[in-house]
């Protein structure tokens, strides 16, 4: 009821403005709806909720995690840190299809951003890690990334008195591999990007979106994008098949990484199933998809409409959706190496 009343209240103010402009004019009925289905009914609650402004974490753990995040000693030849492939000054991505690990070896999948990753239900494109702590083992052990083992890393870090002190302070014992993982994970959880224009819109600032972005938000719901990209992280809470309506991989050779979750479970039904990625800051995290094969956001929107919804967008629709996605860019956390 509150929502209805607000809308009417706004209408009332609008009515007064109309009265000032012209004397007695009947309000015209809304224009006939387009070819789009209306938003599914029954959704009285928010399908997308804003990010919290702040997050409560142990500051000493965050500080220890920050130092480790930028520490190249986590790689075999002391050349690669977490920040190498997930640079925080650039929305946690490098804007290249795949990142390069030790000895310049290319990775086999696009490196997703670390921003807001604490809100994802699982980690990695195929969701094989349940927590950020587990995720960290992945790149550390991967021969194409950091190519090292924890005993080696711990031997190198053991000489660092400052890290020792922080560990004692935060965990009450000396640094070990579990502590390193927990500290980095805690730091990553602190990397949130609140205050995106769309979040301001959700919090009640109706001027935060341009008319085009607002139309994009309507299309986002009406076309069905929101079936999967929902919740606080606008994605990142479920798996979906890539290519529900049309085949994404048509005409290109399949690589192992393309099989997605199948590589984890071995279930035939999990072929080409991936974690639905969060769309927060998506305008800043090109190129797109697990293979980084799509260079620009408008192209990515077209691919999604084709593969997931089976429709072809008009130019206006696509531009509106892009304008909406641009409104999802939030405030970067202020982190110095």
């Amino acid at each position: 009821m509150g929502v209805v009343r607000r809308t009417v209240g706004t209408g009332l103010v609008g009515a007064i403005m109309l009265l000032c402009l012209s004397a007695c004019q009947k309000t015209s009925a809304p224009t006939a709806s387009s070819m789009l289905p209306p938003t599914p009914l029954g959704q009285t609650q928010a399908v997308i909720t804003p990010l919290p402004e702040t997050i409560q974490l142990n500051p000493t753990k965050v500080e220890l995690g920050r130092r480790l995040y930028f520490d190249p000693r986590l790689s075999s030849d002391n050349s690669v840190s977490c920040n190498s492939c997930h640079p925080l000054s650039n929305y946690g991505v490098q804007n290249i299809p795949v990142s390069f690990g030790v000895d310049g070896r290319p990775g086999d999948i696009n490196a997703p951003t670390v921003l807001n990753s604490g809100f994802n239900f699982r980690q990695f494109w195929n969701g094989r890690a349940a927590t950020l702590q587990d995720q960290i083992n992945g790149p550390v052990h991967n021969p194409n990334e950091m190519n090292v083992h924890w005993p080696v890393v711990m031997a190198k870090l053991a000489r660092d008195q400052r890290l020792e002190n922080l560990s004692n302070q935060a965990y009450g014992h000396a640094l070990d591999a579990a502590t390193v993982r927990d500290a980095i994970a805690t730091f990553e959880r602190s990397l949130i990007t609140p205050d995106a224009p769309f979040d301001r819109y959700l919090r009640g600032d109706k001027t935060a979106l341009s008319a085009q972005a607002h139309e994009g938000w309507r299309l986002f719901r009406d076309l069905g994008c929101v079936s999967c990209h929902q919740g606080m992280n606008i994605g990142g809470n479920m798996y979906a098949t890539f290519g529900v309506m049309n085949d994404y991989f048509q005409g290109r050779p399949l690589r192992k990484a393309d099989y997605g979750r199948y590589n984890v479970t071995g279930q035939p039904g999990d072929k080409f199933v991936f974690k639905v990625p969060s769309l927060r800051n998506v305008a800043q995290t090109a190129p797109y998809f697990h293979d980084g094969a799509v260079a620009t956001l408008p192209q990515a929107v077209d691919v999604m409409a084709h593969t997931q919804l089976g429709i072809t967008l008009t130019t206006e629709q696509r531009d509106a959706l892009v304008a909406f996605l641009q409104s999802l860019t939030g405030r970067l956390p202020n982190i110095q190496p």
Binding site: M1, V13, P40, Q45, F121, M238, T241
Partner: protein, 847 residues
């Protein structure tokens, strides 16, 4: 008596063995570690059950689209795993570990199902959405003759059956029934019909794609949802809980046994001590050694964790140790020379003492329990062993009692029970207990074939109370609400508190079967009870209303507690959406809905004739609190349902044209009241006139007739109309209003700001007064939007020279705000007066 050497060594040996055993048993007996671990595990198991319920609720909520995103579902799943991890960190008995392993393997299995469910649900919901929409575009576009008319008909049928499968499937899910017919037949048919269509448009292409997706994924969704809702995890959890409770009871029992054995072992030690008392004085060397041993043995008795009491043959206390002092509160100097009767509380059965004396006088050991009184007056539970010490001739020279304070154990068991099953604030059953009671009730319903009902009660705008008066007062108010609701609770009803401001009542038909009407009357009674003001401090009273959702059960043959709850919750949400302060029945089946309405409508037809309507008045006052007028309101004293609020019957009256008769009745009563007012006061009455009534061709004649017959002064009459009146036939309506104006009747525009609020119409209508809706008033001056809107409305009224009545004034600060901006504003609301029956109102206001 002389103790011989071999005997002495034997005694020494036995003494030492006893000492070692004693130390070991003290260690085991104080093994509170195990007990605490079990208590923690029980807390954790209760948490698991709560999170599991939340998870299964989230599944159904997302399946129905009540939750539009999966965040709550994901969070509940994470919480479950966290609970399990917490439980895994505790060292528990083997039986519990087996329960936990079974739970874990079931949960891992279910993790896969959960992920499948989310993906399938998203795809299917999206495809249903497209399917229904594209179908709506396609059907009217088909030529409506020849074979296309048949095609159209077939498509319509297929569409209905797909929709039915989608919805009926959900019922199957609730039932935990996996035997659901797959919709593939319809779908194959649909695909054939598409091929027969005249053209292949984009619409048809999309329809084909989405139909194929539905064919493939809808049956999968139905089966995975069924797996999730009929999961074995809830029963695993119940098993875990009952095993934990059992283990805790066994542990407490075991502790007690150890202590009893420990006490028994002290007995030979004590005998040794006494023997040493009687040693031959001549054996000096032996005596020195003996004294050393005596010291050790005395120390052991003195420091024993069990209470030790030594009496002579007549029961007079000769010795008491430190543990006895501790548990009884008496210093030993106070009890030596007394008898243990000093400790009696009167709660120990008389037979206990009789049996005790009987046993010990026959030379037997007695075991039992006492309820004793501590020196400070409180009672404590004690387990005791009493042993007679016999002379060579067989008669008892002394009695020794070993006692153990078991009050803490008793309390711990009690407290765990309270914490697990009862709400800490109101002492009402909590959600966990409620769920079990509902399940129990369902079982009984199935057995007795009686209909039962679940009533959910959610306080409207309770958050405002917390914000305005603080959480302390909020809690106090919740307690008062619980007490108020409890007044109506009899042995058919169970009241529970589910969360913050949500209560619920399980209505159990026992001997006599209850009908829909009875359930409605009950829920209505709860709603009315809450209407009386609550005094939270001597000078602050709060007015509350509540939204109530009701469902009956069993709804189907295999109804589940979860399904019942979801239905009642859906009704509750509807009641909230409608603005609260009302009872809504779950309208799962269309028939019930029509039947309910039909019954109420046929009763309403009789209401005027049978004199069941009641006139209520709510005062309108000026800024100094002086009476200026009142709004006439109607209530219906239903013969079986009790007093009904207009929200329950006005819609039915509107739809069935009965509103005309009701309106005439109210007008007649109001006019009679004013005409008969001996004080001939200056107050006016505002009477609501519905659009339907106003449009009656003879409306003006009827009004004229009432004015003439009652002889009332028309200037004291105000008609309240809403904007819906003027949507059609604007000019004709205005003419009618002007005619009534000419007779002296004034008009008030009700609910301004909530409808079209067209200023253009407002300008042209002969309006005297504008009423600002309570939805604006209730949040000023704290809600910036409402402040602005109210300001705008006041400005419009001032500009157009309209009188203003603000409705729903509850707080002084609202009055202050309004009067500051418009000193001549009239105020209507609980701050000044509640709607009251005519006689009460006259007494309070006119005298």
């Amino acid at each position: 008596m002389i103790i011989h050497r071999p005997l002495k060594f034997l005694l020494l040996f036995v003494g030492q063995i006893a000492l070692i055993l004693a130390v070991y048993l003290v260690y085991r007996a104080t093994g509170l570690g195990n007990e605490q671990t079990l208590q923690r595990a029980i807390t954790q198991a209760v948490q698991l059950q709560q999170d599991d319920t939340a998870f299964r609720e989230a599944v159904l909520r997302t399946r129905y689209g009540i939750d539009p995103n999966y965040d709550a579902l994901v969070a509940a799943r994470l919480a479950l795993h966290q609970d399990l991890a917490n439980l895994s960190q505790l060292a528990l008995p083997l039986a519990i570990i087996q329960d936990r392993r079974r739970l874990k393997s079931d949960m891992v299995q279910e993790d896969g199902d959960t992920e499948n469910y989310k993906s399938l649900n998203s795809t299917v919901r999206n495809s249903m959405h497209y399917f229904l929409y594209q179908m709506r575009l396609l059907l009217p576009a088909l030529p409506d003759q020849g074979k296309y008319a048949d095609l159209q008909h077939e498509l319509e049928n297929d569409q209905v059956s797909v929709l039915e499968t989608y919805l009926r499937g959900s019922q199957g899910e609730q039932l935990g029934n996996s035997d659901i017919g797959a919709p593939s037949v319809n779908v194959q048919h649909l695909l054939m019909v598409y091929k027969a269509l005249p053209t292949r448009t984009t619409t048809v292409d999309l329809l084909i794609k989405h139909t194929r997706i539905l064919a493939a994924q809808l049956p999968q969704l139905l089966s995975v949802t069924t797996q999730l809702t009929s999961s074995t995890v809830p029963s695993d959890l119940l098993g875990l809980q009952s095993d934990l409770q059992l283990a805790l009871r066994q542990q407490l029992q075991k502790d007690l046994t150890y202590r009893v054995v420990l006490s028994a072992l002290f007995f030979p030690l004590l005998v040794s001590v006494m023997l040493f008392f009687r040693q031959n004085r001549q054996m000096r060397l032996e005596r020195i050694k003996a004294e050393n041993r005596l010291k050790i043995l005395s120390l052991i008795v003195e420091q024993s964790p069990s209470g030790v009491l030594l009496t002579d043959a007549h029961g007079v206390i000769e010795y008491a140790n430190a543990a006895f002092e501790e548990s009884s509160g008496y210093h030993r100097d106070e009890v030596i020379g007394q008898t243990p009767r000093l400790l009696q509380s009167g709660k120990t059965p008389k037979t206990t003492y009789a049996l005790l004396w009987q046993a010990v006088q026959q030379g037997n050991v007695w075991r039992g329990e006492f309820v004793n009184r501590h020196k400070e007056g409180r009672e404590y539970h004690e387990s005791a062993i009493v042993v007679p010490i016999r002379q060579p001739d067989g008669s008892a020279s002394h009695y020794v009692a070993f006692t153990e304070d078991i009050t803490a154990n008793r309390l711990a068991v009690e407290k765990i029970y309270q914490l697990s099953w009862y709400d800490a604030l109101t002492r009402l059953p909590n959600r966990a207990l409620f769920t079990q009671m509902l399940e129990q009730s369902l079982l009984e319903c199935h057995k007795n074939k009686n209909a039962c009902a679940l009533i959910l009660i959610n306080l409207d705008r309770f958050k405002v109370v917390n914000d305005a008066y603080g959480y302390d007062k909020g809690d106090q108010l919740l307690l008062a609400v619980a007490e108020r609701l409890a007044r109506d609770i009899d042995d058919r009803l169970t009241l529970a508190r589910l969360s913050g401001d949500e209560f619920c009542v399980i209505v159990q038909s026992q001997k006599s079967a209850l009908s829909m009407t009875d359930f409605f009357a009950l829920a209505n009674q709860f709603a009315l009870d809450l209407h009386a003001p609550f005094a939270i401090t001597p000078d602050v009273t709060v007015n509350l209303t509540a939204a109530l959702g009701v469902t009956t059960y069993p709804d189907v043959e295999h109804d589940t507690a979860q399904a019942v709850f979801i239905r009642a919750d859906a009704a509750l949400q509807q009641a909230k959406t409608n603005g609260g302060d009302q009872v809504v029945f779950f309208e799962g089946r269309l028939n019930d809905k029509f039947q309910q309405r039909f019954l109420l409508e046929s009763d309403l037809r009789q209401a005027v004739a049978h004199g069941e309507l009641r006139l209520y008045l709510q005062s309108q006052v000026n800024s100094s609190g002086e009476l200026m007028g009142a709004e006439a309101l109607v209530r219906w004293q239903h013969p079986r349902l009790g007093l009904l609020l207009p929200g329950t019957f006005i819609d039915i009256a509107e739809e069935s044209n009965l509103i005309v008769g009701i309106g005439v009745w109210v007008l007649q009563e109001a006019c009679q009241l004013m005409a008969g007012d001996a004080s001939a006061g200056a107050w006016h009455l505002s009477v609501n006139v519905s659009a339907r009534q106003f449009r009656q061709p003879d409306f003006i004649e009827v009004v004229q007739h009432i004015l003439t017959t009652t002889g009332v002064d028309p200037n004291r009459l105000i008609f309240e109309v809403t904007e819906s009146l003027i949507i059609d036939e604007f000019d004709a309506i205005v003419v009618k209003m002007q005619q009534l104006n000419a007779m002296g009747i004034r008009f008030s525009l009700d609910d301004f700001g909530t409808g079209y609020s067209s200023l253009a119409y407002l300008k042209r209508m002969p309006i005297y007064e504008m009423k600002i809706d309570k939805s604006f008033v209730q949040d000023i001056p704290h809600d910036a939007d409402d402040v602005v809107l109210t300001d705008v409305m006041l400005a419009i009224a001032q500009h157009m020279h309209l009188q203003v009545v603000a409705e729903g004034v509850e707080l002084q600060e609202q009055t202050d705000f309004l009067c500051q901006r418009m000193p001549e504003v009239l105020l209507q609301g609980y701050l000044y007066s509640r709607p009251e029956p005519v006689q009460d109102w006259l007494q309070h206001w006119v005298k």
